[in-house]
């Protein structure tokens, strides 16, 4: 019996979507860095702070994190404690890999569901940020997108793990 243990597996159909999304996330981060630098210079050198600059950064931060989340997952960058790795053995590791994905899909499922409702509400009632009225629904949508893809990757890895159970080594 083959017991696959593949934390770094990316579903084949996913291609390099995770890298592209992370590249967009990186571009947003570069813009944030430039924005913070420009904001600091404008504020101290020209006494002209950017109105609502903090809100722009807060929303950009949502994009940076959510767009990089699939890449973080496919690269298995989430910190875990592997102290018991040798004790668990291959079967134990396989079971814990399955457990992580099952729990992840369930919890993320609740999260995504709640954010779909939140995004629809925000769209319907035109919810915006406090200072410069940035619409909130696209950012709730980004959470649906990022967390949703995280859940999809975990689900695909779970299917791959179970499908390969009993397959060739």
């Amino acid at each position: 019996m083959t017991l696959p243990n593949e934390n770094k597996t990316c579903p084949a159909w996913f291609g390099r979507v995770d890298v592209w999304l992370a590249t967009v996330s990186a571009a947003v981060l570069a813009l944030m860095m430039t924005f913070v630098f420009a904001g600091a210079i404008l504020r101290y050198a020209f006494n002209a702070p950017i109105p609502g600059g903090n809100e722009v950064l807060e929303m950009a931060s949502v994009a940076t994190v959510m767009l990089a989340l699939p890449y973080c997952t496919t690269q298995d960058a989430h910190v875990r404690i592997d102290l018991l790795d040798s004790v668990l053995g291959r079967l134990g590791r396989f079971l814990t890999d399955v457990l992580y994905r099952v729990i992840g899909v369930i919890v993320l499922g609740f999260l995504v569901k709640s954010y779909i409702a939140r995004a629809l509400d925000a769209f319907e009632f035109n919810d915006t940020s406090n200072m410069i009225n940035i619409p909130l629904w696209p950012f709730y949508g980004l959470i649906v997108f990022g967390m949703g893809l995280y859940a999809v990757i975990l689900a695909a890895q779970l299917v791959a793990l179970l499908a390969r159970l009993g397959g060739k080594p």
Partner: protein
């Protein structure tokens, strides 16, 4: 079942998930979510899950995480950090144990642009360990100094430890950064003192390095000037009250990038890799913050922190005795858990107790970070030791652990000094912020 029982089951469940290799963020998220569900129902659990997620990823103060990580990653990829080590080498390498001292100084300087102990150990270790081997340093001293020096990355601002502590306790990040400066310097001095003692007892452990002419020493100072100036501007900017921590991070990252591009030190593909690495690491940290953000309210619902407070008060150890019990618990946990996990899991439980005992929360932040740093070099799970093993694969793990022991003792001395003289941590923030 009482709320406290549910709380303990939740904590036990989380530790079980951690032991079963579930990522820290997901273990906290799941324990917090299902625990709240059992306590207050599904509606409340989903509400906490939803609100805490957005509040974490849209937090203004958390923006320091990706920006400071970016600053450190660019410095490392552009080779600026090597310049820091070479500068330290030029000035102290000629002394007995000087190359190990240069490693500590290089780590301390690089820590001022990087908040990660692992990044610090890797960056300086790659340059320093081969050099120490070349001069016949004992493996124990060579690897031990780098593994211990790397831990400074978690203490000297900008420190990831302080960022997370600030988020978990709602304390001022600026104050915490400033509180880390003197203890960081103290620890650096104690590490160098430990090297002096080791080489005094056994001069063959760390022979003298080459004497670098004065002209070349100043030339290396000029080479390292771009990164030193960025450190002065960003961290000095916080100290002078010119920048907020977020601004300091943004300005620092921007300037390092500009210096790297002007000096043609980064190719487009290297820059792409640096940014990808940055968003990956930052997202990992954000997920941990989300997990902690959902686990903390669950703990508050169960009233475990208050219960723990009552239990510790009932032991009759007094404030200092209770603090020692807590620190001993940290040392034990440090043997099994990595720094970030330990911080986010323990602070929500321990912090209310510390406040009740009347300790300064900023001071405790420094104490917690140092004792967690000790865990980074404590067997069997000393992350920095594993990192150094990766750089020096020929050196047995047991040798590295023996090598870090004198530095672990130096950290213990620093901890005692900080408990006896809290002003070491509080002098700068109190003189700045009142």
């Amino acid at each position: 079942m009482t709320d406290i029982t549910i709380g303990f089951l939740g904590i036990a469940g989380m530790f079980l998930l951690l032991g079963l290799r579930v990522p820290v963020a997901m273990a906290m998220l799941a324990a917090g979510f299902f625990g709240t569900w059992v306590l207050n129902g599904q509606r409340s659990a989903v509400a906490v899950l939803s609100s805490e997620t957005f509040s974490a990823v849209s937090s203004y103060s958390l923006i320091v995480i990706p920006l400071f990580i970016l600053m450190g990653n660019i410095s490392s990829a552009a080779g600026f950090s090597r310049g820091l080590y070479e500068l330290a080498y030029a000035w102290v390498g000629r002394f007995r144990g000087g190359l190990a001292s240069a490693s500590i100084l290089g780590c301390a300087a690089f820590s001022a642009v990087s908040g990660s102990s692992v990044a610090t150990a890797v960056t300086i270790g790659r340059v320093a360990i081969p050099e120490m081997k070349r001069f016949g340093y004992h493996d124990r001293l060579a690897t031990g100094s780098v593994a211990a020096g790397g831990t400074l990355g978690f203490l000297i601002p900008p420190s990831t430890g302080f960022v997370l502590y600030s988020i978990l306790t709602e304390q001022s990040l600026g104050r915490l950064f400033m509180a880390g400066i003197l203890p960081g310097i103290l620890l650096t001095v104690l590490f160098i003192g430990a090297i002096g003692l080791i080489t005094f007892l056994d001069p063959s452990a760390g022979p003298r390095g080459a004497v670098v002419p004065l002209r070349e020493r100043f030339a290396r100072l000029i080479d390292a000037a771009p990164l030193i100036s960025v450190i002065m501007i960003s961290i000095g900017g916080i100290y002078a009250g010119v920048f907020t921590p977020v601004e300091a991070a943004g300005v620092g990252a921007f300037l390092v990038l500009v210096f790297a591009l002007i000096g043609r030190r980064l190719s487009v593909s290297a820059l792409h890799g640096v940014f990808l690495e940055t968003v990956k690491t930052s997202t990992m940290l954000y997920m941990i913050v989300i997990g902690a953000g959902i686990f903390s309210p669950f703990l508050a619902f169960t009233q475990i922190p208050q219960g723990l407070n009552d239990v510790l008060a009932g032991l009759g150890f007094g404030a200092t005795g209770t603090l020692i019990v807590i620190l001993l618990a940290y040392v034990v946990l440090g043997m099994f858990m990595d720094a970030l996990s330990m911080l986010v899991i323990t602070i929500p439980i321990v912090y209310p107790v510390i406040l009740t005992l009347g300790y300064d929360p900023i001071w405790f932040g420094v104490i917690a970070v140092i004792v967690i740093e000790m865990g980074m070099i404590t067997p069997p799970v000393g992350i920095n030791v594993f990192v150094v093993k990766g750089i020096a694969p020929g050196v047995p793990m047991s040798t590295i652990f023996r090598g870090v022991f004198p530095f672990w003792l130096a950290m213990f001395v620093a901890l005692v000094l900080l408990i006896v003289f809290p002003q070491i941590a509080l002098f700068i923030p109190n003189s700045m912020f009142g």
